[in-house]
C-alpha cells in the first residue's frame, strides 16, 4: 500500500511539469501582453505614450525576453522560492492574492462536495432499493431538475427570494457592518450565514448527477450473486445492504472525486460572480481579461494541480477500499 502511494506520487512529477507548461502556454496564446494591454488602455483614455516610454515598460516587466526564458524564470521562482510571481493588475504578489482567496475557495468547494454526498448517497440508496416507488419518481424528477437548471440562475432567483422574505442579503461573505471588523464570534456566524446559500447551490449542482450514478450502480449490484449468497446465509436485510452492495457501488462514486473538483470549481465561478463571493473564480476571470498573466497562470496551474491531487486521493481511497485494486497494483510491480 505504501509502495503504491509512493509510486503514484512519483508519477505525478512529469504530469505536474506538463501542467505548468500548458498553463504557461495558455496564458501566452492570446496576442499581446500586460504592457500592450496597458498601453491600449492609456491610448483609449486619450494619453499618448511615446515609443521610448513603451519600450521602457516592456523592458521593466521583462517582456523583451523570449517566452521560454520567462517560463524558466517563473518556474524557478515557484520551485525555489515558492514565489508565483507578481500581479500587475493588483500590484500585489500572486502569493498574497491567492493566500486570501484560495482557502475560501477550497472551503466552499469541499463543503459543497460533502453537501452533495450527504444529500445524494442516501437518496440514491433509497431510490435503488425502492425502484419505481412514488418517492423514487419524485427524487428522479427533482434530480433531473437539479441537473438541468443552470446554477447562476438558481443563485440569482434564490438570492432575490431570500432577500424578499427575510430582508437578509445573502451576497458577499460578510454583512457591511462586519466588513472592516476584526474576526470575532459574531463575524464568524455572519460568515456562516452567508455561506449557506452558495453551499446549497454549488452542492446541488452535482447532486442530481450523483443520485443517478448511485442509483444505477446500486441497482446493478443488488442483482449480483453475492447479494443472494449473503441473503442465503440469513443476514439481516439492512446489514446486508450496507455491508455488500452499497460498499461496492461506492467505488465509482469515489473515483469521481478527482473530476468532480474541477466541475465544482467552474460551477463555482458563476455562482461566486452572482453572489459576490471572494473566491478564486472571479479573480481568474478578471486576470484573464486583463492579461494579468502570472496571476492567471498560477490559478490555472493550482486548480489543475488540485484536480490531479484529487485523482490521486480517489485512487488511494479506492485501493484502500477494494482489495482487487491493491492486488493488481502489487502485480504490476
Amino acid at each position: 500500500m505504501v509502495a503504491y502511494i509512493v509510486r503514484r506520487s512519483v508519477m505525478l512529477i512529469p504530469i505536474l511539469l506538463l501542467i505548468s507548461l500548458v498553463s504557461f502556454a495558455i496564458i501566452e496564446l492570446p496576442p499581446g501582453d500586460w504592457v500592450t494591454y496597458q498601453i491600449e488602455n492609456l491610448r483609449a483614455s486619450g494619453i499618448e505614450l511615446n515609443e521610448d516610454e513603451a519600450e521602457r515598460l516592456v523592458k521593466m516587466y521583462g517582456f523583451d525576453q523570449p517566452a521560454w526564458k520567462r517560463y524558466i524564470r517563473w518556474m524557478r521562482g515557484i520551485l525555489f522560492k515558492f514565489n508565483f510571481g507578481w500581479s500587475f493588475q493588483w500590484g500585489k504578489t500572486v502569493n498574497e492574492l491567492l493566500g486570501e482567496r484560495l482557502p475560501l475557495t477550497l472551503l466552499v468547494s469541499i463543503s459543497a462536495l460533502i453537501v452533495s454526498w450527504i444529500i445524494a448517497i442516501p437518496i440514491g440508496i433509497y431510490s435503488a432499493t425502492h425502484q419505481y416507488s412514488v418517492l423514487d419518481y419524485i427524487f428522479t424528477f427533482f434530480g433531473f431538475l437539479g441537473l438541468t437548471i443552470p446554477t447562476f440562475l438558481l443563485a440569482m432567483v434564490l438570492a432575490w427570494y431570500i432577500f424578499k422574505l427575510t430582508e437578509f442579503a445573502p451576497l458577499g461573505l460578510f454583512s457591511i457592518e462586519y466588513m472592516d471588523e476584526p474576526m470575532s464570534m459574531e463575524k464568524f456566524i455572519d460568515m456562516l450565514k452567508h455561506l449557506v446559500l452558495p453551499l446549497i447551490i454549488i452542492g446541488l449542482n452535482g447532486t442530481g448527477a450523483l443520485i443517478r450514478v448511485m442509483r444505477g450502480n446500486l441497482l446493478d449490484e443488488l442483482k449480483k450473486q453475492y447479494v443472494i449468497t449473503a441473503r442465503a446465509k440469513g443476514v439481516n436485510e439492512m446489514q446486508l445492504l450496507f455491508k455488500y452492495p452499497v460498499r461496492m457501488s461506492m467505488n465509482p462514486v469515489i473515483s469521481t472525486i478527482g473530476w468532480i473538483l474541477p466541475g465544482i470549481f467552474s460551477g463555482e465561478v458563476l455562482v461566486s460572480l452572482v453572489l459576490g463571493l471572494q473566491t478564486t473564480g472571479p479573480l481568474l476571470l478578471r486576470a484573464v481579461l486583463a492579461q494579468d498573466m502570472f496571476l492567471a497562470g498560477s490559478i490555472v496551474m493550482i486548480l489543475s494541480v488540485l484536480t490531479v491531487l484529487g485523482t490521486l486521493l480517489s485512487d488511494i481511497l479506492l485501493a484502500a477500499l477494494d482489495p482487487r485494486i491493491r492486488y493488481s497494483a502489487a502485480a504490476a510491480r
Partner: protein
C-alpha cells in the same frame, strides 16, 4: 412417494405454485410441485433452463425475488429439530422471508450452494469474513475468534490447502474450484439439516466437478444431511441422487427413485432426455435430440406443455386438458395420459414407442 417414518422426513413441499408477474406477462415458473426430502438422502431435480427447478429450491430458501414472484399456493413444511430433542413443524411459505424466523432457518437449518463460484462471494471481503458471518449469526455463543477457528476447520474439511492462510484470502486470490469449496464450507458452516446445491459444478471443469461431487457425498455421509441436487446434467444427477424428479415448464413430469427412473423411464419427455445423452459404455448410437424448442414461458397451456414436442402425443386428449398425475408403480409418479386407464388409446392409435 414413500414415507419412511416421521423422524426421517425433513421437508415436505406440497402443491407449490410460484408465478412471476413481469411486464411482458405472467410466467408460471412453478406449478403444483410436491416432493419430500429425507434426512441423509439426496433428491435430484432435473430440468432444462426455465423448468422451474431453481425457483422451487429458492422458494424453500425464501430467496425468490418478490416482487415480481409470488407464491400463490402450497406449503413448504420443514420439520426442524428443537433444542430439547423434539421436532417442530414450520410452514416456511407462511413466514416473512425477511423476518427473524426465516433468517434463522436460512443459513442455519438449510444451506445453499450456488452455480457461480466466481461471483458468489463479495470481492471486497475475505473468505473468512464471509463464512464467519454465517457462523456468528447461527451458532449460539460464537465470538469472532471461535468463528475464525471454525472457519479454518471447515476450509480444511472441504480440502482447501493451508486453510489458516486461505481464511484471510480474498475471493479473487482463489481458483474457481477452491472458491466452490469455500462456498460449500460456507453452506455447511452451521451444520445444516438440508443442503440445496443449485448446479454447483456447472461452471467447473470435469476433473474439479468429480472432486466436488465426491466431497459433497462424503460430507453427506458424515453429517447425515439431506441434499436437494439441482442440475441439467443427467449423468451427474444419476451419480449422486437417491431419487429423481424431472421438471418441465414448472411441472413435475416424473418422479421415482434414481435406479427406476434411469432404467425404466415412463414419461416421453424423460425418455427423450435419456436418448439425447451419449453413453460411455455400450454401442455407439445416433443421438436423438428433442425436436422443437421450449415453448414461450408466457404461454398458457390448456393441455400438456410438452405436447408440441412429444412423439407419443394423443391428439384431442393431450392438447385438450392437463394431464393427470398417475402412479403406475409404487413410488413412481408420472404426469402423462399414456398411463391413464380411462383414455381410449386404441381409437387414437398414437400410443407406444
Amino acid at each position: 412417494m414413500s414415507d419412511t417414518g416421521r423422524g426421517d422426513l425433513l421437508l415436505e413441499v406440497r402443491n407449490l405454485q410460484v408465478h412471476f408477474y413481469l411486464f411482458e406477462g405472467v410466467v408460471q415458473a412453478v406449478n403444483d410441485v410436491s416432493f419430500d426430502v429425507h434426512r441423509g438422502r439426496t433428491l435430484g431435480i432435473i430440468g432444462e433452463s426455465g423448468s422451474g427447478k431453481s425457483v422451487s429450491a429458492q422458494s424453500v430458501m425464501g430467496i425468490v425475488p418478490s416482487p415480481p414472484a409470488k407464491q400463490l399456493a402450497g406449503e413448504i413444511r420443514l420439520h426442524r429439530a428443537t433444542p430439547d430433542g423434539g421436532i417442530e413443524t414450520v410452514d416456511l411459505g407462511r413466514l416473512d422471508p425477511r423476518g427473524q424466523e426465516y433468517r434463522d432457518v436460512r443459513g442455519g437449518e438449510i444451506g445453499m450452494i450456488f452455480q457461480e463460484p466466481m461471483t458468489s462471494f463479495s470481492p471486497l471481503h475475505t473468505v473468512g469474513d464471509q463464512i464467519g458471518e454465517a457462523i456468528l449469526l447461527h451458532i449460539p455463543d460464537s465470538t469472532p475468534q471461535s468463528a475464525r477457528e471454525r472457519t479454518v476447520d471447515l476450509l480444511r474439511r472441504v480440502g482447501i490447502p493451508r486453510p489458516d492462510r486461505a481464511v484471510d484470502a480474498y475471493p479473487h486470490e482463489l481458483s474457481g474450484g477452491m472458491r466452490q469449496r469455500a462456498m460449500i464450507a460456507m453452506a455447511l458452516s452451521c451444520d445444516p439439516a438440508l443442503l440445496i446445491a443449485d448446479e454447483p459444478t456447472t461452471a467447473l471443469d470435469v476433473t474439479i466437478e468429480a472432486q466436488i461431487l465426491e466431497l459433497i457425498q462424503e460430507l453427506q455421509d458424515d453429517l447425515n444431511m439431506a441434499i436437494i441436487y439441482i442440475s441439467h446434467d443427467l449423468a451427474v444427477v444419476g451419480g449422486v441422487a437417491d431419487e429423481v424428479m424431472v421438471m418441465y415448464l414448472g411441472l413435475v413430469m416424473e418422479h421415482a427413485d434414481a435406479e427406476t427412473i434411469f432404467d425404466e423411464p415412463l414419461h416421453p419427455y424423460t425418455r427423450a432426455l435419456w436418448q439425447s445423452i451419449p453413453k460411455i459404455d455400450g454401442p455407439l448410437e445416433q443421438l436423438v435430440p428433442i425436436s422443437g424448442n421450449i415453448p414461450n414461458p408466457f404461454a398458457v397451456h390448456k393441455g400438456c406443455p410438452f405436447y408440441a414436442r412429444c412423439t407419443e402425443r394423443i391428439q384431442g386428449v393431450c392438447d385438450e386438458s392437463p394431464p393427470p398425475v398417475l402412479e403406475p408403480r409404487q413410488g413412481h409418479t408420472v404426469r402423462c395420459f399414456l398411463y391413464a386407464d380411462d383414455v381410449d388409446l386404441a381409437s387414437n392409435g398414437a400410443a407406444g414407442d
